[in-house]
């Protein structure tokens, strides 16, 4: 008995000690939060006060070191280039930057943890595909008011069209400094081998049918070559859906679901892609391609690197956006001009979508202690010619050769610096790569005339109310939809039926209702 009691006492002591430690943790946490809140209100007050004396010079007497988080691998020439950048920043605004890099392989996991762990950093890359809405809603970013922007980022404020700020609004508030560049498209296209086209005497590719003929000819005659190489195997839909379904029919799909609306539909009527006759027809198209060897039977477990395989002549065609394919085209033209690599738009007559400003941007961490200086640095990196050149291209003569004021040529060491998400500072000061192929420029020129702006362009779906359904629908798409689209399910009709049934069970209708009501509200507010 005595012994047991003793044991109990020990356990109790342990628990008490632990709870004391825990409560201490909680308290210190609170303290930090209060501190952050105080900071925030402090800077707000500062803004108001500064308004009264807007002409007062900003005090930069205190040297500040800013921590910045970027995506992509750390550049080999980091020390040289950032050394130069810091020298100039120190001179101009008495600040320096330390950059940290999240590699492409695992940035998705690390990014939210940076916030959750309350790490100390000031600037972070963000984008509509890199947690922008998510973190804005969760309070990870500092809100940038017009007053703050006008005061601390005068050059950006003057240069950036107002519509770009509006595109960056989440619930009416701006949380990022978006890129200031208009010439970027989200549409995709195909890169293929012109020599093979000639060899089998095929029509030039400009439609799904001509593309099919090409893929089948390659599958039949070129042993050891994969006709179509996948961009990524972990998507929720077929890689070609973007072109053959969305671009072809002028649809826009929302979030990570199978729901879409027509871009030219003023009402923004939402429908499920899988319920459409267009999808059914496409399935037949895919099935026949799959049965004829249009892509690897192991498409879903693809461990290859399609870009590398294309350059090595193991893949006969690939899909991506025009910038990426243009880069590959330039390289292949140099190493294998006899391949006559060609760009093909499978849907030449459709509306084209220009990337909205949130495609690339930089946000300020909500708990940053130096938001003012951070903004001043951003202002310079986007709009100061010499700093902009440094952050975008590296050191002149080493990483690139400037050609005039607005062009450049890549040197062998271009890749030693240009490895990370510096696109956030895209601006009218960008130089044009002289080696960027004419074909890609032609595509961009043609597309620019076809860009279609629609009211729902900047609509963002807030899925917090239907999160359970969204996660389950995503799983159903991956489990039943993707294998079906890659032609791995023997009976297409039955597969489609299963897919629709599973989607219903996963709650697609609930998401649809929620999405439609948000779209209606969005349009009503705009109207």
């Amino acid at each position: 008995m005595m012994k047991k009691k003793k044991k109990l006492g020990l356990v109790l002591t342990g628990v008490l000690a632990a709870s004391m430690v825990l409560s201490a943790c909680g308290q210190s946490n609170n303290g930090a939060n209060n501190g952050a809140a105080a900071n925030g209100s402090g800077s707000d007050d500062g803004g108001a006060a500064n308004n009264q004396a807007a002409n007062d010079a900003i005090d930069t007497s205190k040297a500040v070191n800013l921590k910045m988080v970027m995506l992509g691998p750390k550049p080999a020439d980091y020390d040289q280039v950032f050394g130069e950048i810091n020298k100039q920043l120190k001179e101009k605004v008495n600040a320096t930057i330390d950059a940290e890099f999240l590699d492409w392989s695992d940035w998705g996991q690390k990014y939210p943890l940076k916030f959750a762990a309350g790490e100390d950093f000031d600037l972070i890359y963000t984008s509509n595909w890199a947690n922008y809405n998510d973190q804005s809603n969760k309070g990870g970013f500092l809100e940038l008011t017009d007053d703050m922007l006008a005061k601390y980022m005068p050059q950006t404020w003057a240069a950036m069209p107002k519509v770009k700020w509006d595109q960056a609004r989440v619930n009416g508030k701006v949380y990022m400094v978006p890129q200031n560049q208009s010439k970027e498209f989200t549409d995709k296209l195909i890169l293929y081998r012109g020599d093979l086209l000639e060899k089998y005497k095929l029509q030039p590719i400009d439609s799904p049918e001509t593309y099919q003929a090409y893929l089948e000819a390659v599958a039949k005659n070129e042993k050891g070559m994969t006709p179509y190489g996948l961009e990524a195997s972990d998507t929720k839909m077929h890689n070609l859906d973007k072109q053959l379904l969305l671009q072809k029919n002028n649809w826009f799909s929302v979030g990570d679901t199978s729901l879409a609306f027509k871009v030219d539909d003023a009402k923004g009527q939402v429908f499920s892609i899988y319920d459409t006759p267009e999808f059914k027809d496409l399935l037949t198209y895919y099935k026949s391609l799959a049965d004829n060897g249009g892509w690897s039977r192991n498409a879903l477990t693809n461990k290859g690197d399609t870009t590398g395989d294309f350059k090595a002549g193991k893949v006969a065609s690939m899909s991506h956006n025009v910038t990426a394919l243009g880069g590959i085209l330039a390289e292949v033209d140099k190493t294998h001009p006899e391949w006559k690599a060609t760009l093909a738009d499978l849907t030449p007559d459709s509306h084209k979508s220009a990337a909205i400003s949130t495609q690339n941007g930089i946000a300020i961490h909500a708990t940053s202690k130096e938001p003012e200086r951070a903004m001043m640095v951003l202002d310079l990196l986007q709009n100061d010619k010499s700093l902009h050149d440094l952050i975008m291209y590296g050191i002149a003569g080493t990483n690139y050769e400037p050609v005039g004021d607005d062009k450049f040529t890549k040197t062998d060491k271009y890749g030693n610096f240009n490895s990370f998400s510096n696109w956030a500072w895209n601006s009218p000061l960008n130089r044009v790569d002289t080696t960027y192929p004419q074909a890609a420029q032609d595509v961009e020129k043609k597309w620019a005339a076809q860009v279609f702006h629609y009211p729902l362009e900047t609509f963002v779906f807030d899925n917090s109310k239907v999160l359970n359904e969204v996660t389950n629908v995503g799983n159903v798409m991956m489990r039943y939809g993707v294998p079906l689209e890659y032609g791995l399910v023997p009976d297409t009709a039955k597969g489609l039926e299963t897919l629709q049934k599973q989607l219903k069970a996963a709650g697609i209708d609930k998401i649809k209702t929620e999405l439609q009501s948000q779209i209606d509200a969005f349009l009503a507010k705009q109207g």
Partner: protein, 309 residues
Amino acid sequence: MMTEKRHSFWRDVAKYRTLLIMISPAVLLVLLFSYIPMAGIVIAFKQFNYTGGVFGSPWAGFDNFKFFFQSGDAWRVTRNTALYNIGFMVLGNLLQIAAAVLLFEVGGKWFRKIIQSALFLPYFISWVVVGSIAYNFFSYDVGAINNVLASLGMERIDIYNTPAYWPYILVFFHTWKLLGYGTVMYLAAITSIDTEMYEAAEMDGANVFQRIMKVTIPNLIPTFIILALLAVGNIFRGDFGMFYNVIGNNGMLFSATDVIDTFVFRLLMNTNDFGMSSAAGVYQSVLGFVTILAVNYAVRKYDKDRALF
């Protein structure tokens, strides 16, 4: 009474101070990494946001658990996880014991060392690499197995799109990878068996098989039970590294290869919802906790000294 108790407690502390100091780093580590983080369980019941943090965010009740059970796959993935782990445990331990016994009986120090190292080597290969090895074996167009089949004039097998093969393949890889590690543990247990027992057995005229069955195996049972009990606690935790790197997001194989960890990862990959991820973790922990209590209770019934607690 009270004073007497406290008195004896402090007297014990004083008496065993050397031992207590020696154990304190371990206790501290467990406290730091196993007990304090347990407070994080509250995230599973909260609607997490950064401004509120772990303790300040609003409560969400059991909402975070809904996605998992709403999917209709909860039972399937839970069953898969448990079955795979049971398979790994039974086959793994049997082969490890067999390998250890054989290695022990085989003479020649050099031979034994070389085999032991060779068995251990796969343990150091990362699952990412194993995933690529598997792909190079089983791929339809470029895989070694299919190339051999094709050169023999036989039909290629579509392994990556046929769920039925995968339980065997996964159990094979897992067993292969952990064989060396387990073997060393059992080998250590065998070498600590009192040699007098073997001498006595030999005197009584026991042959090799009788020696193994009557001396070595019974002496290994306690080690086996402890390892099994430890494994049972993790029976509802899928080996994410293995399943994700070997299977990836191949929807064709999910019916046979989805475990809780990969399933939850896939569902929450794009939502980054801490509450929901924690809910899945809590679900696994609670199941594991209940299982280990039950199994420990059973072991206790059978033999009191061999239970963990």
